[in-house]
C-alpha cells in the first residue's frame, strides 16, 4: 500500500472535523469535571501502589466485569482489549491524514497481524453483547438504548473498515474507506461524553480513587454546644455529594449489576440501586450543574436498603453505589421524617443506651466485669444483652467457654451502651454521637476488644475511627477462634455430623474482610463442609442489616431470599457469624422448609467449635 495522498482541502476538512469533535468532547468532559470538582472532600492518593494495582486488575484484567456475569463480561473484555490494541492504529490512521504514517510499512504490516485477529474478536464480542442486549433483553439493562445500538454499529463498522483497509484496494476505495473510519471515530468522540460510554475515560480514575473501606460515608460531626452557624453549614452540606460520589454518577455504565445483587430488590421491595442511588441523580447534577442533589434520592427506597454493600462490591466501574446513609440522615436530621418504629428505637437509645429501652441486663451481669488486667473486653452488643433472640445467648456462652479453655481472660464493660450501629445506619447521627462518645470513654483504658456482633465490630473498629483516634483493637470472635486453633490453644475434633454450610454475614465479609477464619473454625469441626452460592464477599445479606431488624412493616421478603438459598443448599446445618444473621435464619428457615424435611439447624461458629472441643 503506497502512502495515500491527501489534498489540502481534505486536510483542512479533516482538521476542522477533528477540532470540532475534540472540542465537543473536551467541553462535555470538562463540564462534568467542573461539577465533580464542586464535590466535598478531595480525591485520595494514599496507598498509591495499591490503587494502581487495583486499576490493573479491574480495568486491564476486567476482574469485576467478568466475575458477576462471566460470558458478557468476557465479551466486553474482548472489545476492551481490542480497543487497547487499536490505540496505536488510530493514531497512525489520523497521522496519515494529516502528515504521514507513524509506523513504517513493515511495522504496520507486522502489527496488523496482531490487530486483525483482535478486530475479529471485537466484532464477535460486540455482536454477542448486542444480541444479549437487543434480542435477549435481560431486565437489568432496562429499556432499549438507541445509543448502545449506535455504538454497536459504530464499532462493527470501524472494525470492518479497518480490516477492509488492510486488503488490496484501489486508492479511491481506500480513501472512501479511510474517511468512513475517520468520521466514525470522530462521531464516537462526540458520543462518548454524552452517554454512559464516558466510562471509557472515567472508569480507570474512578477505580483508582475508590475507597478501600466500605461503606464509606462522610462522617457527620455534631456539636450541640457548638456554633449554630457551623451546624447550619453542616446541615446544608448534607445534600452535597463528595467528589467521589459525583465521579460515580458520570462513570456509571447502567449495567444493573448493583440491582441484580440487591437483597431488598430481590425480596420484592421497590429499591433499585441503579436508579435510586445513581441514575436518578444524573439529570439533577447536569441541570443544576452542582452536586447538592442528595435530597433527590427516593426516600422510600432509601429506607429499604440493608446497607450490605453488595452493590458497591459488584460495581465494575468502582462506584460506591449505596447511598442510604445520605438520604436517611437528611430525613432524620433535616426533615424530622422518621418511620414510627425507628422513632421508638431512637428514643430507647437516647433514654436507656440500648435498643430495647431496658433498664438492666441480667445476661450481662452473669459475666465478670472487665478490669485492665484481663486480656479482652468482651463486647456483648444489644442483641445479646437484651435477648433479641435468647437462643443466641448460648452462643455467647460457648465463646466464653472456648476462651476459658484457651486460658484467655475477659470481662464485660460495666457501662456498655449500644455501639450505635442502628442509629448510625438509620441516619440519626445525633444519637450516634451520644452513644459513641459514651463508649469511647468507657473504652479509654482498653487495649483489646472482642465481640460476636460484626455490626458492633464495624462501628467500634472502623466507624468510630472516622471521628477520632481509637486506641484499642477490635476483633471478631471468629478471628480469635481461628487464631486459638492455629496456636494450638484449643483443640477441635471433627465431630460434626451432617452437611454443613456457612452464611457469610455482610458486615463480616464485605465490611471487615473476614472470610477465611470462620471457615477455618468450621472445617476443624466438620469434614462435610460445602459452600453456599453467593458466599464470601459476594454473600447475600440476611435482610437484617441497616437496622431493618427493627422495621415493623416488611413489605418485601428480603429476609426469606437467603433462607431459601440455605434450604436449596440441602445443608443440615447452617453456620453463621453474626447474631442478626442467626436470628434471621431462625425466623426465616421454618416457613421456607418444605413439608417432610427436617428443619435446618442454625449455629454460630462459636457453637460449632464449642460443641467439638477436645
Amino acid at each position: 500500500m503506497s502512502p495515500a495522498h491527501f489534498s489540502i482541502i481534505e486536510k483542512v476538512i479533516l482538521a476542522g472535523l477533528t477540532l470540532v469533535a475534540l472540542g465537543s468532547f473536551s467541553y462535555e468532559v470538562l463540564r462534568r469535571v467542573f461539577i465533580v470538582q464542586k464535590g466535598l472532600g478531595s480525591f485520595p492518593f494514599d496507598r498509591f501502589g495499591e490503587r494502581l494495582f487495583r486499576v490493573f486488575r479491574e480495568v486491564l484484567l476486567h476482574e469485576k466485569v467478568i466475575r458477576e456475569r462471566p460470558f458478557p463480561g468476557l465479551m466486553h473484555a474482548l472489545v476492551f482489549w481490542g480497543f487497547l490494541v487499536f490505540g496505536l492504529v488510530t493514531i497512525d490512521h489520523f497521522s496519515i491524514g494529516f502528515y504521514k504514517p507513524i509506523m513504517s510499512e513493515s511495522v504496520h504490516h507486522a502489527y496488523s497481524k496482531i490487530v486483525i485477529p483482535f478486530a475479529v474478536f471485537v466484532i464477535f464480542g460486540i455482536l454477542s453483547l448486542a444480541y444479549r442486549r437487543f434480542i435477549n433483553r435481560p431486565k437489568a439493562l432496562g429499556k432499549i438504548s438507541p445509543t448502545s445500538g449506535l455504538v454497536a454499529v459504530f464499532i462493527v463498522v470501524l472494525m470492518v473498515t479497518y480490516i477492509y483497509g488492510e486488503t488490496d484496494l484501489s486508492p479511491f476505495v481506500w480513501k472512501i474507506n479511510w474517511w468512513i473510519h475517520s468520521i466514525l471515530i470522530l462521531a464516537f468522540l462526540f458520543l462518548i461524553p454524552r452517554s454512559k460510554h464516558l466510562h471509557l475515560v472515567l472508569a480507570p480514575f474512578n477505580i483508582f480513587f475508590r475507597s478501600f473501606q466500605q461503606p464509606d460515608h462522610t462522617p457527620v460531626h455534631i456539636d450541640l454546644e457548638g456554633d449554630e452557624d457551623e451546624l447550619d453549614t453542616m446541615l446544608n452540606d448534607l445534600t452535597k455529594m463528595t467528589k467521589n460520589q459525583a465521579l460515580d454518577i458520570f462513570s456509571c455504565v447502567e449495567c444493573g449489576r448493583c440491582t441484580d445483587v440487591c437483597p431488598a430488590n430481590r425480596g420484592g421491595g421497590i429499591l433499585d440501586p441503579k436508579y435510586h442511588f445513581i441514575m436518578d441523580l444524573r439529570d439533577p447534577v447536569l441541570e443544576g450543574r452542582d452536586v447538592a442533589v442528595l435530597d433527590q434520592i427516593n426516600v422510600d427506597a432509601g429506607w429499604e436498603c440493608t446497607t450490605c454493600q453488595a452493590c458497591t462490591e459488584v460495581c465494575p466501574v468502582g462506584n460506591h453505589v449505596e447511598k442510604s446513609d445520605e438520604i436517611r440522615r437528611l430525613e432524620v436530621l433535616v426533615e424530622g421524617r422518621v418511620p414510627q418504629e425507628y422513632q421508638k428505637l431512637f428514643t430507647n437509645l437516647q433514654e436507656t443506651g440500648n435498643t430495647e429501652g431496658a433498664s438492666s441486663s441480667p445476661f450481662a451481669d452473669s459475666f465478670p466485669v472487665f478490669t485492665p488486667d484481663k486480656d479482652y473486653v468482651l463486647w456483648l452488643g444489644c442483641f445479646a444483652r437484651h435477648g433479641l433472640d435468647p437462643n443466641f445467648n448460648k452462643s455467647v456462652e460457648n465463646f466464653t467457654k472456648i476462651l476459658d479453655v484457651a486460658g484467655m481472660t475477659y470481662g464485660v464493660l460495666a457501662d456498655e451502651q449500644c455501639s450505635g450501629d442502628p442509629a448510625n445506619r438509620l441516619g440519626d447521627k445525633l444519637t450516634y454521637t451520644m452513644l459513641r462518645e459514651h463508649n469511647m470513654e468507657q473504652l479509654s483504658e482498653t487495649k483489646k476488644v472482642v465481640t460476636l456482633c460484626p455490626h458492633c465490630a464495624v462501628n467500634l473498629g472502623k466507624e468510630y475511627g472516622k471521628y477520632g483516634t481509637i486506641n484499642y483493637t477490635v476483633e471478631h470472635h471468629t478471628q480469635v477462634i481461628g487464631r486459638l486453633i492455629d496456636e494450638g490453644k484449643i483443640k477441635v475434633q471433627m465431630g460434626e455430623s451432617g452437611k454443613v454450610t456457612y452464611h457469610d454475614p455482610c458486615n463480616l465479609s464485605r465490611m471487615l474482610d473476614i472470610v477465611d477464619e470462620p471457615r477455618k473454625a468450621i472445617q476443624a469441626a466438620s469434614s462435610n463442609f460445602q459452600e453456599m452460592e453467593e458466599s464470601g464477599r459476594d454473600t447475600l445479606c440476611c435482610g437484617a442489616g441497616g437496622a431493618l431488624w427493627w422495621k415493623k412493616e416488611t413489605q418485601g421478603r428480603t429476609h426469606l431470599v437467603r433462607a431459601e438459598q440455605v434450604i436449596e443448599s440441602e445443608a443440615d446445618t447452617v453456620v453463621t457469624g453474626c447474631n442478626f444473621c442467626y436470628g434471621m435464619m431462625k425466623q426465616g428457615l421454618s416457613p421456607m422448609t418444605p413439608e417432610g424435611r427436617e428443619d435446618v439447624v442454625v449455629k454460630d461458629v462459636a457453637d460449632m467449635v464449642a460443641d467439638n472441643l477436645i
Binding site: 433479641l388 435468647p390 431488624w549 427493627w550 422495621k551 415493623k552 412493616e553 416488611t554 425466623q587
Partner: protein, 312 residues
C-alpha cells in the same frame, strides 16, 4: 340514696357495661337507683323493671334526646344535686370518658376511673397495667367507673323497681355541640392494637387453604385476625396482621391463638393480653406457659366444630 348508677343507651337497649355497673353497685350494697337519659330512657327503665333497684329516674328533655357532653353532664349534675347520692357509679365506656369528668368538675366530686375490683379497696391499674393501685378519697361523695368485665352482667340481682321522670332544667345555650349521626367505617387496615378480641393464626394451620377457618371463627366472635410471623412470611395473610417483636404489640381482652407454638419473638408481642386461649397439638408448646386456657388438640378439627357451636 347510697348509690346512683348512670345508665348508657346502646342504640335502644341497655349497654352491657351499665348492667355490669349495676351488678357492681349491688355488690357494694345499699339503696341503689339508676338514671336513664335520652329519647330511649323509658325503654331502658323498662329493661330494668325486673332488677333489684329502688327506682330508675328518667330524663327525656329535648336537648338530651341523643347524647351530647354538655347536656348529659348538666343533667347528671342536677340529678346528683337533687338526689344527693353518696356514690355515683358508671361503666367506664368511651361515652363516660367524654362527659363524666365534666360532672366531676361541675360538682368538685372526685372521679376514680376504670376500676377493676372493689373487693379489697378501690383498685385500678396503673403504669400500663403492670401494677395495680389502691385508691381512696377523702370527699363525701365520689364517682366510680368500672372497667369492662370487672363485674358480670349475669350477677345483676333480680327484684323489681319502678321508674319516675325527672324534670331537668336545660337551657339551649348550654348545649353547644352540633352532633351528626354516628356511622360505621368500611374496614380498612385494622389497628390490631385497638382490637378487643383477636384470633391469631400460627403454623399449626398448616396450609393456606385452612386460613379461612380462622377468619370464619373471627367473624363468629366479632374478632380481628392476627398471625405469627411464619404465617405472614409465607404470604398467607397481610403483613399488618403480624403480632410479635417485629410486628404489632397487642393486649386484647381475648387472644385466641390457633396453632401458635409460642416462640419468644411472638410472645413478646401478646403476653399482655388479658385472656389467652391457645389451641395447639403439642402439649409442650411454650404458648401454654402463658396461656390461661390450654387446649391440647388439632386446630383443624376443633375450630370448624367451634364455629358451628357458636352459630347455634
Amino acid at each position: 340514696m347510697d348509690i346512683l348508677v348512670i345508665l348508657e343507651d346502646n342504640r335502644g337497649s341497655l349497654h352491657r357495661m351499665s348492667k355490669e355497673a349495676i351488678a357492681g353497685a349491688q355488690k357494694m350494697g345499699g339503696s341503689i337507683s339508676a338514671l336513664a337519659i335520652g329519647s330511649n330512657a323509658d325503654a331502658l327503665a323498662e329493661e330494668l323493671s325486673g332488677v333489684d333497684l329502688v327506682e330508675v329516674i328518667t330524663v327525656s328533655h329535648d336537648l338530651v334526646s341523643s347524647y351530647n357532653a354538655d347536656g348529659y353532664s348538666e343533667v347528671v349534675k342536677q340529678v346528683i344535686e337533687s338526689e344527693s347520692p353518696q356514690t355515683i357509679v358508671i361503666g367506664h365506656s368511651y361515652q363516660t370518658r367524654d362527659f363524666m369528668p365534666r360532672v366531676s368538675a361541675k360538682l368538685d366530686i372526685p372521679f376514680i376511673p376504670d376500676i377493676i375490683s372493689m373487693d379489697d379497696g378501690i383498685v385500678k391499674q396503673v403504669l400500663n397495667a403492670k401494677l395495680n393501685a389502691s385508691c381512696s378519697t377523702s370527699a363525701e361523695q365520689m364517682i366510680l367507673s368500672f372497667q369492662s368485665a370487672a363485674f358480670s352482667d349475669e350477677d345483676m340481682a333480680s327484684g323489681s323497681c319502678t321508674s319516675r321522670t325527672f324534670d331537668s332544667n336545660l337551657d339551649s345555650a348550654t348545649v353547644r355541640a352540633e352532633s351528626e349521626e354516628p356511622f360505621q367505617e368500611a374496614a380498612g387496615d385494622v389497628d390490631l392494637e385497638a382490637a378487643e378480641l383477636l384470633v391469631s393464626i400460627g403454623r399449626g394451620i398448616e396450609k393456606e387453604e385452612n386460613i379461612q377457618i380462622a377468619f370464619d371463627l373471627a367473624k363468629a366472635l366479632g374478632a380481628e385476625v392476627s398471625a405469627s410471623r411464619p404465617v405472614v412470611d409465607s404470604g398467607w395473610v397481610e403483613p399488618f396482621r403480624q403480632v410479635g417483636s417485629s410486628g404489632q404489640n397487642v393486649s386484647p381482652k381475648l387472644y385466641f391463638s390457633l396453632g401458635i407454638s409460642g416462640a419468644i419473638q411472638h410472645v413478646v408481642g401478646m403476653k399482655g393480653s388479658k385472656n389467652i386461649l391457645a389451641i395447639n397439638k403439642d402439649p409442650d408448646a411454650p404458648i401454654f406457659e402463658i396461656a390461661d386456657y390450654a387446649v391440647v388438640g388439632d386446630v383443624l378439627e376443633i375450630v370448624p366444630k367451634l364455629i358451628e357451636a357458636l352459630h347455634n
